[in-house]
Amino acid sequence: MNYAQLSLIEQLILTLSAMVLLTSFLLLAQTRIVSLINTFAVQGFLLFLGTCLIAQSSGRYHLYISAGITLALKVFFIPWLLRRLVKRLDIRRDVENVGGPSMIMIAGGALVLFSYYVALPIRELSTLATRNTIAISLAIILLGMLMMITRRKAVSQVVGFMSMENGLFFAAVVSTYGMPMVVELGVAFDVLVAAILFGIFFYQIRAGIGSLDVDHLNRLHEVDR
């Protein structure tokens, strides 16, 4: 199937998925917390648009419900919660020094290549129009993990975790046109509870060690000294 033979909607879906990958890269290098949260909200919105388009072009109208849940959770509720926490914890102006952004970007590129390689057998077997995007969804998951590894502030790690969940949702949508509704609801509920618990945790970390720099949580060692 030639690229030129895809309909305009399908091309738009592929373009939107590439834009979501771009937001994952942008998340890797953002230093300011508020712009981090806003980029995450943009990623959620692009996912919402992509899911709606997939629902339209494939005829699976239950995907509109999943898209709606994503919109409510990932574009409105979770960024609102994080922004409110950032304001209450008074870290709006904190700038995080990301160590070696160029190396991280190159590592991100390598992860995209790796996920393409891993997803090749799946792509061979899929008959869906969105089968090329399975590699992109795995790349978004791995980039979310890379972000969690390279960050030192707790809020940034949580944004990385949530963007990883974005990638998982996207993987479910593009490889199988969405999981059964009950599973989607369960996963969304888990993400919601996780977000609330993270919020509670921020207060606890702040109260316990006086800052949200996760590097300072280093009292427990593998081998006790």
Partner: protein, 314 residues
């Protein structure tokens, strides 16, 4: 009409519209900053004035210093002659390969940097080193963007690229979106606009391009400035016709040529306005952040390439 005459006419048109584009950008910036500003044809007056003035050469100037303006100008004009502005399929299109274009710019930049260091002043050397840093980071990004497009159209020749894109129905290629974004960022860096370099600055420590031509006077300075205006024009025409190729003529009859001329003028008008808005809205970055900016351009082009391989090939 004979192809060669048309090619010559196109080149002359490019040469003489370049100052108008720069003047237009300056005029829109003035209007946005609520200043009265000079009219858009002021650069013509500046160039004429400079051509009439006497050349003052430093005693320590070498022959390279004297020869560099002519080389820079002619190489840029040659690059401009191969860029399809009004029509594709011109005889000069045979050498209109993008890599050749990049090579032309590199040649011009080489002599410009040499000229900057020639006199031996501190500012000239600083400008040359900054220019080389920026270009060494920008060229891979630009080439990556070009190759992304070339992989879809199966050629690096500009004319065949544009013709391929015109023949297809409207497509939305993710790789093109990313390549366009990457090349926009690179174009801003290469032509020396904000946020990389401020063309209107008087402070030598913030200069990149101006610092290299600080010692030039008279017709030498006119040629250098005209060369810079030409470079901006060439990049704009390239971006406009590559990513929005509609309107360009493919036969040499009067009506398509007129439509081609009108469409490129409109595109340049819009691009110039967008450039002016962006320059007014963003502040110039400190030089040590330029590599990050160019790294972003490279990542965008790389994403374009990855999108092409992952999403568009079956």
């Amino acid at each position: 009409m004979n192809g060669w005459i048309l090619a010559l006419a196109q080149t002359i048109l490019l040469l003489f519209c370049a100052p108008l584009l720069t003047g237009w950008v300056k005029w829109v910036k003035c209007k946005l900053q609520s200043r009265r500003g000079a009219p858009p044809w002021q650069p013509y007056r500046d160039l004429l004035r400079l051509f009439r003035k006497e050349v003052v050469l430093s005693e320590s100037a070498s022959p390279i210093f004297r020869v560099a303006p002519y080389i820079v100008f002619s190489v840029t004009a040659l690059a401009g002659s191969v860029v399809p502005m009004l029509a594709t399929g011109l005889p000069s299109a045979a050498i209109a390969d993008v890599i050749v274009l990049v090579g032309f710019f590199a040649l011009g930049r080489f002599f410009l940097a040499l000229a900057g260091m020639d006199i031996g002043t501190a500012f000239g050397g600083m400008g040359s080193s900054r220019e080389m840093t920026i270009s060494s980071l920008a060229e891979p990004a630009m080439l990556m963007g070009i190759f992304t497009i070339a992989m879809t159209v199966h050629s690096t020749n500009l004319a065949s690229m544009i013709r391929y894109l015109l023949e297809q129905p409207i497509q939305l290629y993710p790789s093109f979106v990313f390549a366009a974004m990457g090349m926009l960022l690179v174009a801003v860096a290469e032509t020396g606009r904000i946020p990389i370099d401020n063309p209107a600055t008087h402070l030598e420590l913030t200069m990149v391009h101006e610092a290299m031509i600080l010692e030039y006077t008279g017709r030498h300075l006119a040629l250098m400035e005209w060369g810079a205006m030409l470079k901006l024009m060439i990049y704009s025409v390239l971006l406009a016709n590559l990513f929005l190729p509609w309107g360009i003529a493919d036969t040499f009859t009067p009506l398509p040529l007129f439509i081609g001329f009108a469409s490129i003028m409109i595109k340049l008008f819009l691009l110039g306005t967008a450039l002016a808005v962006m320059e007014t809205g963003i502040a110039k970055m400190r030089f040590f952040r330029a590599p990050q900016y160019l790294g972003l351009a490279f990542i965008l082009s790389l994403l374009g390439m990855l999108s092409h391989v992952i999403l568009e090939i079956n």
